[in-house]
């Protein structure tokens, strides 16, 4: 990139570019844990850190708004890529980059280059969300050492990192290494803990004639206890928005039921060949073996749900507290037993902390009693769900600056990924016997039925600690991507054109023959093949001075993610119906400028996603079994405005404004496919039926999602910041405002055969079709309006909760001290959420259960009024001391 387009950094920052690196120092702890679906935690799903340092907007928003889990343009993580030394590190099954992979090695991964979704770059054709290239070649590290010690009150409390690099030695070798450790006996969320070691080693040899060969290897073995979301009622009973239902006391010691163990050792061999001053060829080969597992409690069909915030444990399960006909003094006088029971549960929750956490002792006791008086099986257990991966990847990139006007980049990427998914018995909780059958299928078909078997080839297998059980399958993903970019530059304009073609295959290989799908669970599924590609075009006009106008457009057709491609991957080989390439269309108009001391960038963007595939997997309390719900043909629109303004008052003081006002929503009712573990194909087929209430004919099942917003990120985010530096001191203050964060809506509750269907009647006088519910009721509760002849007149998705907006104030103070002989000391203290706003919801999800019994009578507990929420951290601080020598 030329200097003319580097408009971002105020000159004051140039002094500290190599010193404080506040965002880079703090980056890895800004992710809160485990907010999304069962098996995945936030570090794998959020793409809030970007490295486009030249962009005044992108270089700031990732860190500044990370406390609210902000996602740029509300994109999911899969739409941007992370590279290291030319090799793309995104997970092919999930599409996303696992930030945890490089956690604790901030200094080793500091050398980054970021691009937005349209810029010309030298390392790959980026996705619509942009890309980051991390350069970890040993020769890139400045000679010297750095020791960093940090203290904080976040996921971990202590961090230590040591990095050393030799620089390029006379022999042509260079070495760099980093070790780090992050620890918390208990993190800021009660019941969580953190135990993570990280290592990084790099070696490179300059071979001469422009060749160099480098090897990097790194890994972060980690063990951590997770936080769980809960309802507002549970938070109120516990008197804290940070109540964590995932832990309880065992032997007086806190024990977390959801513990993640991860270790993803990676090695990348890179050959760089600087052919001449204009040409460079970079080829990398990478290997990664990823071990990722998380524990969860399991219980057999009749055992009482062990979750402390299970709805039957809550006072509002006694009577409908939202119904004025039930919740009034007269009703309590008539039926005092209702309020008595409500108060019994309320007092129980408040009487002691142990009462509102997992009761480990009780589970051990029940297992031992069942060994004495029952069938001997462990009624409670802790399982470990493994999602391991072996990845082999190759990439080769050729860059050619043809002349001052023309440049070309070409590349080839190959990736073979084997995902290994299974679960093992982590702890029998005092039990001595466990038979590998599906307890839900046993309830439906009988304990002796074929359907109850998880593995027909090893029926009724007895399971001990660390044995595999339940499910065991591999997913193979192969991808080949050929890409090219061309850049043409003149004095007043640039044109960038990029294109790529990619081929993918996805295949499942079942290692257990499941009793509910005996014909299509064991062995290979056959490969689903996809041929996709796309292109982008950017025109940059520079009329003069520090101004540039950018007009960009792109189109991409990409294969669906492997994680969404199977209807019930734990059970069977069937692919999701209607599996297609996802099409992404986009356009952007941006203006970068400098007027004296005012620099900035303003942009408007639009993206349309068609034929998307999304899958959620959850424990369905309604059906009492694990459920997969896949949407296909998903259409979404993301559009909005972004802006960044920086006013440099003088060399010491600057002000900045960041703004994001966007929209991200579903614009259709996608097809739906529901699969319940524990049921056979015939039963599942009946539950996937949507029968027209007027004609009794079958219709394609859909999710009423039209109008639903993308969740878990503020669609409006504004920030006002000030930076001041004097005599080696640095001060920063940012006042942030967040709004329009939406709750993750329940697709299950919005299924067209779960939502109310209303058949209209024809008014004899006017001929109009009249429906019973009002518009207001339909907007609130959702529904399908069907004409007497069977035509679907209109659909309404049930209202989606929007969280209240709020402010957050962050401060930072730092000191940089130059010492003798090139040494330096940097001290930085970041204070986030200084006003201790504990009411900012960052995300959450609706419960997947109906408010009504099968009889049509309303339940006492109103699931639709009790979603589970996550809150932004309370006041938190991070002190980092770095010593370079």
């Amino acid at each position: 990139m030329t200097a003319a387009i580097c408009l971002s950094a105020p000159t004051a920052w140039a002094q500290v570019q190599d010193t404080l690196h506040v965002e880079d120092d703090n980056a890895d702890f800004t992710f809160t844990e485990s907010q999304l679906d069962e098996d995945h935690d936030a570090s794998q799903a959020v793409s809030s850190v970007t490295s486009a340092k030249a962009d005044p907007y992108l270089s700031e928003v990732g860190y500044r708004w990370s406390g609210m889990r902000f996602r740029v343009r509300a994109y999911e993580n899969q739409y941007n890529q992370t590279y290291m030394n030319g090799l793309m590190l995104n997970d092919l099954e999930r599409g996303s980059f696992s930030y945890g992979m490089i956690g604790g090695m901030n200094d080793a991964t500091r050398n980054r280059e970021g691009v937005d979704g349209y810029e010309y770059n030298t390392f790959g054709l980026q996705g619509v969300g942009g890309a980051t290239q991390i350069n970890t070649r040993a020769s890139q590290f400045a000679q010297g050492s750095k020791l960093a010690i940090s203290g904080t009150n976040r996921n971990y409390v202590l961090r230590g990192m040591f990095t050393h690099a030799t620089g390029i030695l006379p022999s042509g070798w260079s070495f760099a290494g980093s070790v780090g450790y992050r620890w918390a006996k208990e993190g800021v969320i009660e019941g969580t803990f953190y135990n993570s070691f990280s290592y990084f080693l790099a070696a490179e040899k300059i071979l001469g004639r422009g060749h160099s060969l480098g090897l990097v290897t790194f890994g972060t073995p980690t063990e951590r206890g997770q936080q769980g979301a809960s309802t507002e009622e549970a938070y109120w009973l516990a008197n804290s928005h940070y109540y964590n239902p995932n832990w309880g006391y065992q032997n007086g010691k806190k024990r977390n039921s959801r513990v993640v163990n991860s270790f993803e050792p990676t090695a990348i061999l890179t050959w760089d060949w600087k052919i001449d001053d204009r040409q460079k060829l970079t080829s990398s080969a990478g290997f990664r073996y990823s071990n990722y597992s998380s524990t969860a409690l399991g219980w057999n069909g009749d055992a009482y749900d062990p979750r402390p915030d299970y709805y039957k444990n809550l006072p509002s399960s006694i009577f409908n507290v939202y119904d004025a006909n039930r919740n009034n003094p007269q009703e309590f006088q008539n039926y005092p037993f209702l309020l008595d029971q409500y108060n019994t549960l309320l007092d129980f929750w408040r009487a002691s902390k142990a009462n509102r956490q997992i009761n480990w002792d009780r589970m051990y006791y029940v297992n031992r009693q069942n060994a004495l008086y029952g069938n001997g099986e462990a009624l409670y257990y802790q399982e470990r769900r493994h999602n391991d991966q072996m990845v082999m990847a190759l990439s080769s990139t050729y860059n050619f600056n043809i002349d001052t006007h023309n440049k070309v980049a070409l590349g080839l990427q190959l990736n073979h990924t084997k995902g290994m998914h299974y679960k093992t018995m982590a702890d029998l909780l005092g039990g001595t016997l466990y038979t590998d059958v599906d307890k839900f299928a046993a309830n439906d078909y009988g304990i002796g039925s074929e359907e109850a078997q998880n593995d027909l080839r090893n029926p009724n297998r007895k399971i001990g600690k660390d044995d595999k059980f339940g499910y065991d399958y591999n997913v193979f993903v192969n991808k080949a991507n050929l890409w090219g970019q061309y850049g043409y530059t003149r004095s007043h304009y640039n044109i960038f054109v990029g294109a790529h073609v990619e081929g993918s295959t996805i295949e499942r290989d079942g290692l257990m023959q499941n009793g509910r799908a005996p014909q299509n669970s064991y062995g290979k599924s056959g490969a689903a093949k996809f041929l996709g590609g796309g292109g982008r075009l950017q025109f940059v006009y520079r009329p003069g001075g520090y101004h540039r106008i950018m007009v960009s457009a792109h189109y991409d057709a990409t294969a669906p993610l492997a994680r969404n491609a199977f209807v019930a991957p734990r059970m069977q080989n069937n692919f999701v119906d209607n599996l297609k390439l996802e099409k992404i269309y986009g356009a952007e108009l941006a203006y970068g400028f400098r007027f004296g001391e005012l620099t900035g960038r303003l942009s408007g963007y639009y993206n349309r996603f068609n034929d998307g595939v999304e899958q959620t997997a959850f424990y369905n309390d309604q059906e009492e079994r694990f459920t997969y719900l896949t949407m296909t043909g998903v259409e979404r629109e993301h559009y909005g405005f972004e802006g960044a303004l920086v006013y440099q008052v003088n060399s010491q003081l600057s002000f900045n404004i960041l703004a994001n006002v966007g929209e991200a929503k579903y614009v259709n009712n996608p097809y739906a496919q529901v699969n319940y573990e524990g049921m056979n194909a015939a039963t599942i087929a009946t539950l996937n039926k949507w029968v027209n209430p007027a004609t009794n004919k079958d219709m394609a099942l859909r999710v009423l999602a039209d109008g639903m917003r993308v969740s878990g990120t503020p669609l409006t985010a504004l920030s006002l910041g000030v930076n001041y530096n004097v005599n080696g001191w640095f001060f920063e203050a940012n006042l942030n405002y967040y709004d329009r964060v939406y709750l993750d809506f329940s697709e299950y509750r919005r299924l067209s055969n779960v939502a109310q269907n209303y058949v209209g009647t024809t008014d004899a006088t006017t001929g109009h079709i009249i429906f019973e519910p009002t518009e207001q009721e339909l907007k609130k509760n959702g529904g399908v309006l069907v004409a007497p002849n069977g035509d679907v007149v209109r659909t309404y998705a049930a209202e989606q909760e929007k969280f209240d907006g709020g402010f957050m104030l962050d401060l930072s103070i730092g000191r940089y001290i130059r010492l003798k002989k090139g040494k330096s000391l940097s001290i930085n203290l970041s204070l986030n959420n200084v006003t201790n706003n504990t009411n900012l919801r960052t995300g959450g999800y609706e419960q997947n259960r109906d408010d009504f019994y099968n009889t049509g009578v309303a339940r006492s507990y109103v699931f639709s009024r009790n979603p589970k929420y996550y809150y932004a951290n309370a006041f938190n601080a991070f002190l980092n001391i770095g010593f370079k020598f």
Partner: protein, 347 residues
């Protein structure tokens, strides 16, 4: 460095190790006395279940209940629980004033005296009660603050709740109240005389079941053993699949293939056909299925009721005459509910 690395890798897996807890003294019930026994199950039933007159709440003549407002403490032995999942959130507590009547393991209908032998249903809100209340466990219950009355004509102790039909019936008490209202007395005794059922397998038993005078709250519930054959498995009926009134679906029929029951297909006329106790297709509003037990010495019948989705539900119904031990109660007719499959015997 490699050794250090290996050491550190091991180190990162050590924060989630936990010793097994000592749970020998774990209780969901009161660790201290809930009071001295001062009344009997029979007296409680007479006071709160005999009639709907003067009760606190009456929904129907089969469902009424009253709050106990004083320290009335009863004692009994758990003789039925939810071990198989057939009884839901239910314990049957039995009191024998004179236990010698069953001390030899035999207890005929002629020896039965309602003044001596009384049972009551105790409902507790938990899906898995038997680990806390094993068969043969003696317990004391302080009824102060709990509700006693009739639930579907069966004397019960519990708390009222909103049912899935929107009614306020006497239902299960909160498990949390066990800590203040229920006390375990000693350890479970598998040889407790209270576990001996009333033997109604002979002609005297058949006659007792037939007599309308016996259909009273005092005789309900009981731990009894009855004998007969299941009408649905008689030769003239066994190849006819019933249709569920609630589901509208036909029940599955089974045949044995290599000793395993599989759904029967094709021409059934020459095949040995079986049915299971509680196919989901036949469930009623209470998610149970009634089969008809025909007594041997008269034309009376007893409903053998089984809940769906448990071990008993999927078992094949015997085709011959068997004895069935279970909880005997009266609704429109006598009905018996098995506790486990062990309650079915050839003798």
């Amino acid at each position: 460095m490699l050794l250090s690395l290996c050491g550190l890798l091991t180190f990162t897996s050590c924060m989630d190790d936990h010793d097994d807890p000592n749970v020998e003294n774990f209780l969901v019930t009161s660790p201290t006395s809930v009071g001295e026994v001062n009344t009997t199950i029979g007296a409680i039933k007479a006071r709160y279940c005999a009639s709907s007159e003067g009760v606190d709440y009456m929904r129907t003549s089969s469902n009424y209940y009253t709050k106990v407002k004083e320290d009335l403490i009863i004692e009994g032995v758990v003789v039925a629980n939810d071990l198989s999942g057939n009884l839901y959130q239910t314990l049957i507590i039995r009191q024998l004033q004179d236990a010698s009547v069953a001390s030899d393991g035999k207890y005929t209908i002629d020896e039965y005296d309602k003044a001596n032998d009384q049972c009551i249903q105790l409902k507790i809100k938990n899906t898995c009660l038997y680990p806390y209340f094993a068969l043969g466990q003696r317990i004391k219950i302080n009824l102060n603050g709990l509700y006693v009355g009739i639930y579907s004509k069966t004397p019960s102790i519990g708390q009222p709740y909103y049912t899935s039909h929107g009614n306020n019936n006497l239902g299960p008490m909160l498990l949390e109240l066990c800590k203040t209202h229920i006390e375990l007395v000693g350890k479970p005794n598998p040889n407790a005389p209270e576990l001996v059922p009333i033997d109604m397998t002979g002609t005297d038993g058949d006659a007792w079941l037939r007599a309308t005078a016996n259909r009273t709250y005092e005789n309900c519930p009981q731990l009894a053993i009855v004998r007969g054959n299941i009408e649905e498995m008689e030769e003239r009926n066994r190849r006819t699949a019933d249709v569920g009134e609630v589901t509208g679906q036909m029940e599955p029929l089974y045949e044995l293939v290599n000793g395993r029951p599989v759904k029967a297909t094709g021409d059934l006329t020459e095949k040995e056909i079986y049915k299971i106790w509680a196919p989901d297709q036949l469930h009623d509003d209470g998610y149970g299925v009634d089969r008809t037990l025909k007594l041997q010495s008269n034309t009376s019948k007893v409903a053998l009721r089984t809940s769906t989705e448990n071990d008993i539900a999927f078992s094949l119904i015997p085709t011959d005459v068997r004895s069935y031990t279970g909880v005997l109660s009266y609704y429109d007719s006598w009905q018996i509910q098995l506790r486990t499959l062990d309650d079915i015997s050839e003798n």
